[in-house]
Structures are given as structure tokens and as C-alpha cells.
Subunit: 184 residues, 4 copies
DNA sequence: CATGAATGAGGGTTCATTCAT
DNA sequence: GATGAATGAACCCTCATTCAT
């Protein structure tokens, strides 16, 4: 039931973990608690489904970005997708981010998440970016940078997307164009 | 009682939020639940004390970094301090980071946190770094980048400090040396 | 659930405040503690419901008394109702009386209580009683006299109703027929 | 320790049963909790001592009243003593009244309390009062009337003593002068 | 004698989950 | 399928009481 997942999302972003109870979700969704348990075996399954739904949107954007011709364009679209995703529901995104680390991630979500990283890796390997000696590490770092900056913006309640997109791109490009292993 | 705070730290990093109950903390600390409540008026106060303790170490390192002559040296020391802090107890650091956002942060902790940012701002303003048009934004971004990368490393269970330090420095320097506002 | 309220009544009269715990009430009622809290948001709400239930019976009797033709008859019925109410469960009545003073009496119960006083005022104003210079004070005093005598009888464990009724009537009539303000 | 008893009194009248904890009493008295327990074996003992202290003042007044020549004078003084006692610390008096019923009254307090009734009985037997067919019952009733009216005044927060004294005397004299056993 | 840190049974309350209807 | 009353383990926290110093 989509209504249940959406109710879970709303409760989570409006009340935080404190108010996130199965009963509250069921009530907001307009179904009985029994019905909720018919669709989701337990609370974590509901959370997992919510995470999957949210992550899916992000991956869709990433896949679209991947279609673009140049690396610059693709990266730009990817950053934009990530920012848009976060700006839409910042608190929810942050909370789910945190939950993801705690959950015994079911296979489905795992795949979705690594799909994003795979796409990012493909983009960073494009010829219009400086070649990276360790592409896997670079990919991980870029992902971390994006996540760190975007989460922080959400936490601060930043509103506009464009400024944030510009700054994230600056960070990513700066990282990529900086030679690895410069002296200590 | 330091034993109680340390027990709280251990419970949190070993069992996560789920296992973090006042009774569990008291038991691990080897005191009765009543004793715990004689030192901390409620659960959040205990959490606050733990956050303060952990954050304090980090700020100390930052303050030492601030003493160094050049910006490069100071930044290097700062990154190193942050990495060391995180690598020591990665899970704990991440969980506390999250709690900090939720707590009605008492003044003391607030100060500690903003102190770190203030130090970072001072370092970034040094003459051996490229001048930033918006120093506040740059400071925030650099902090986010550091946090994002270091948290991710902790999440992945990365062990060695040096590689991580090098990569974080690369990201920060890359960001700083990239001119802001390059078009797409 | 009536069973819960009745269990509360029994616990209260058999064990006093000391034994009046939500767990004890639930157990005696034969329901789980969770069920109790589904019907009453907290302990005070349960107490309030019990007070309302007990007071209701008394007011009913008072209202019936009010229908009677003469003041003498009405007063007699009123006293009888109050005595009957108290004699039925003396300890419970006394304890609830006390709690009533402590509770942030919800509107419903407030009304019930003042209703009794209003009825008493109406009865005392009947023409077959001596006219009172300050009817409000007289009403309050008569109510206090009744309550004092009836509570004391309950405390002593007095059993029969008739003797007590006769004595209360004597006190009330004595008060009413005594001119106010006779000097010493 | 008188300071402890007085602290108990103050806590009780200012915070009610809810705040009446041995720790609070000790703190207000300016002694340690250990000291409190050196003087009073347990909480009820402290309460008992407080009751004894308060009741004692009342009995003293009653004994003084008993010395007066006529019944009228003695009764007047007795009522006045009771009212004064209550008006001084109304909430405390009411709470202690209630506790008295619950406590396994130690012999000392028992004696004090029945002493008051004995004095009242003696006064009511004076020749300037109408003769009572059942002097024991009359004594109990008069005591109950006094207590009911005076407690109610305290509950209402009534301030002046004189009006209350006049009304109580009216009630008592009215009761005494009313022939027992008038028709139903 | 005074102290006060320590104790821990027990109290009020929540909430994930079940199951008879 | 849907319902929602019922469950009870577990949580946070209090407070009367003890006892080593």
C-alpha cells in the first residue's frame, strides 16, 4: 500500500524517530494497524520499503544523467538530481540515510544503492575528466563529498537548489582536478 | 561518573540506539540505575555529556592545529585531528553526530561545535590559501566535505589514517583552488 | 471498560492509595496493562472516571430529592441519598473525596459537584424552612456539616443508615433554625 | 529534630503528597538524609511526629478552654481554638487529617486525639447546655460538625476567623438545642 | 553522630505485534 | 482481506532506605 509508505514518510519527516510508530503510520494512512501488518511483516520492512522508494527516485535521475553525452553534462545532471532529491524532503532524506546504515539492507535496496555508485564511476571515467589513478577510491570520495555537502545543506535548511548545485560541482571538479598524492 | 559515560559510549557503539537504555548503561558501568540518575538527570543529559566529552577531544586537536604557522600545516593538522578522532571510534562518532542534530543542545556543546567551525574559518583565511569570495560558505562546505568523507570512511570500516588524510586534503585543496561559479 | 473502573474502586477501598497502581488495577480487572491505557490516557484519567461514576449516583439521588413537594421531604431524601451513598462504600467515598481536591477536575466532574450544591441551595430556600440571611453561606455550611458527619460515620465503620440520617437531619435543622449571629 | 518536622510540614503544605519525599524534607531542613533517618526510623514515623506536634497545639487550646467557667464560654473557646489551629495552616491541617486515618496511629497520638473528644464531652455535659439523651453520640456528632465545617473553610481558602467561629457555634448550638428524634 | 553516594524494587507509560471477529 | 482491542515486555525514572566513611 502506497498510502502506508507515504504516511511513514510524512510521520518520519514531521515527527522524527520519536513519533514514528506503526500505530501512528497506520492512522495517518487511514488504515488499521492490522492492515499495515498485512503488507509489511514488521516495522523494519516498512522502513526498508520507504528507503527503496526514495532511493529509486534518485537512481532514476542518475540513470537519466548517465545518458548525456559529455562527462561534464552527466556530472552536472547527476549533482542536480541528487540535490533535487534532497531539497524536496530534506529531513526525510537525512533520516533515511541514517537508517540505511542500521538496517540489514535487503538485497533490493543494496542493488539500488550500488547502482548509483556504478553510474557515478562510469561518469567519472569519461575522457573529459582528468584520469584518476584509483578510480574506485575517487568514486567513493566523490560520492561522500556529494552526500556530505547535500546533507549539510538539508540540515541547515538551505532552500535554493542552484547555489548548492554550483558548490557541489565546484567541490567535485576541484577534487578531480587535484593531483592525488601531493606532498604532506 | 566517567565510568557511566564510557559505558554509554560502549553501549552506543556496540548496540546502536536500540540497545542504548539507561539500564544497560548502568549495568555495563557496574553501578545501579539509581546511581546513574544521581549523576545525570535524564537520558538526554547523559547523551549530552557523552557528546561533550567526545567533541572536546576534537576541538582540542583543532585548537592545536590552529597554532601552526602556515595554512597548509594548520589544515593538515586539522584534517589529521578529525580523522584520528573518527577512526578511533567510527560508529560512536557517527551516532553522536546524528544525536547532536536532535538534541536541544545545551549551550556548552553548542559552543564546542561552533568553535570547530570558527577555527576552520580562521585557517582557511590564511594567505597561503586562495582567497575565497564567500568565506563563510567556503568554510561550511569544507566542513561538510570533511565530515562526509570521514563519516563514509568510518561507515566502510576503513582502517589506516594516512590514506584518508591525503584524500581529504586533496578534496579540500581542490575545492579551495577551484574558482567559484564556473559555468556549465 | 467498567471492569477497570470497578477494579480501581476495589483496589482503592481495600488497599488505599498505597496499593493503587495501574498494574494492580489492570490485574484485578483481568486485563493487561496495555488495555487499561487504551481506555484511560493516564492514571488520573482513571481516577477521574471513577470519581465521575461515584458522584453521578449521588447527584441522581439529589435530583430525585429535589422533585419532592416540601422542603422537609426534599431535605430528608437528600440526606438519605448522601448517607446511602456513603454507607455503601465508606472508605472509597472518603478517598475519592480527598482525590477530588487534588485533581485538575475536568469540567464534567466539576459540574456534577456544583450541581449537588445547587440542588441543596434550592431546597434550603423552600418556604417551610426558616429564611436565611445569607443563603450561600448557609448552603455551604449545611453541605460541610453533612459531609463531616457522614465521613466521620464512614470512618468509624457505622453500619445502619437510619440513625445516621436522623442525626444529620437534626444537625441541619438545628443549624437552620438557629438565628445567625447570636452573641457570646 | 524540630527543624526536620517543620521542614516536613512545609513540604507537605506547599507541595502536597507528591513532593513529600524524605530527601526533599532533609534538604529543606538543611540536614542529610542520613541524619533524618537517625531521628525517625521511617517516613511514617516522621509523619506521625508531625501529626503529634500539630495535634498537640490543638489539645492545649482545648484544655485551656476546659478551664473556663460556663459551658458557653468553654465551647466558644474550643471552637475558637480549633478554627485558629486550622486557619494557621489550612492545607497542612487537611492533609494531616487525612493521613491520620491511614496511619497505624501510635499510642501517643491516639491519646492526644481522644483527649480532645473527652474534653468536648465534658464541656457538652455542662448544665448550661440542653441535656443530651446520648451524650457520646452527641459528642461525636459535634466533633464531626466542627471538623467538617472547618476543613471546608480551609479548602475554600477562607481567611477571617470570626465569621467562621460564629457559624460553627451556630451549627453546634443548633444541633444541641434540637430535640433528638423529631419525626421523619 | 553526621554524611550522602549507592541501591534497586517498583511505578507509570509506550508500542510492536497478534488474532479473533 | 480488513479490523482494532488486547497483549506484555521493556523503557525511563523515583524514592525510601542503607552503610561505609
Amino acid at each position: 500500500m502506497d498510502a502506508i509508505i507515504e504516511a511513514a514518510a510524512r510521520i518520519l519527516e514531521e515527527q522524527g524517530h520519536g513519533g514514528f510508530t506503526t500505530n501512528a503510520v497506520a492512522e495517518l494512512a487511514g488504515v488499521s494497524i492490522g492492515t499495515l501488518y498485512q503488507y509489511f511483516p514488521d516495522k523494519d520492512a516498512l522502513l526498508g520499503a520507504l528507503i527503496a522508494r526514495e532511493t529509486a527516485g534518485l537512481v532514476e535521475g542518475a540513470e537519466a544523467a548517465c545518458m548525456l553525452a559529455t562527462g561534464q553534462q552527466a556530472l552536472d545532471a547527476l549533482v542536480r538530481a541528487a540535490v533535487r532529491h534532497q531539497v524536496r524532503r530534506p529531513r526525510l532524506a537525512r533520516l533515511l540515510d541514517f537508517e540505511e546504515a542500521r538496517l540489514p539492507l535487503d538485497a533490493g535496496t543494496q542493488v539500488v544503492r550500488s547502482r548509483f555508485v556504478a553510474i557515478l564511476a562510469e561518469i567519472l571515467a569519461r575522457p573529459d575528466f582528468p584520469e584518476q589513478s584509483d578510480i574506485a577510491a575517487a568514486t567513493g570520495d566523490v560520492a561522500s563529498i556529494m552526500r556530505g555537502m547535500i546533507d549539510a545543506a538539508g540540515e541547515r535548511g538551505e532552500q535554493g537548489q542552484d547555489a548548492l548545485v554550483a558548490r557541489v560541482r565546484r567541490a567535485v571538479l576541484g577534487y578531480l582536478s587535484m593531483p592525488a598524492g601531493s606532498c604532506p
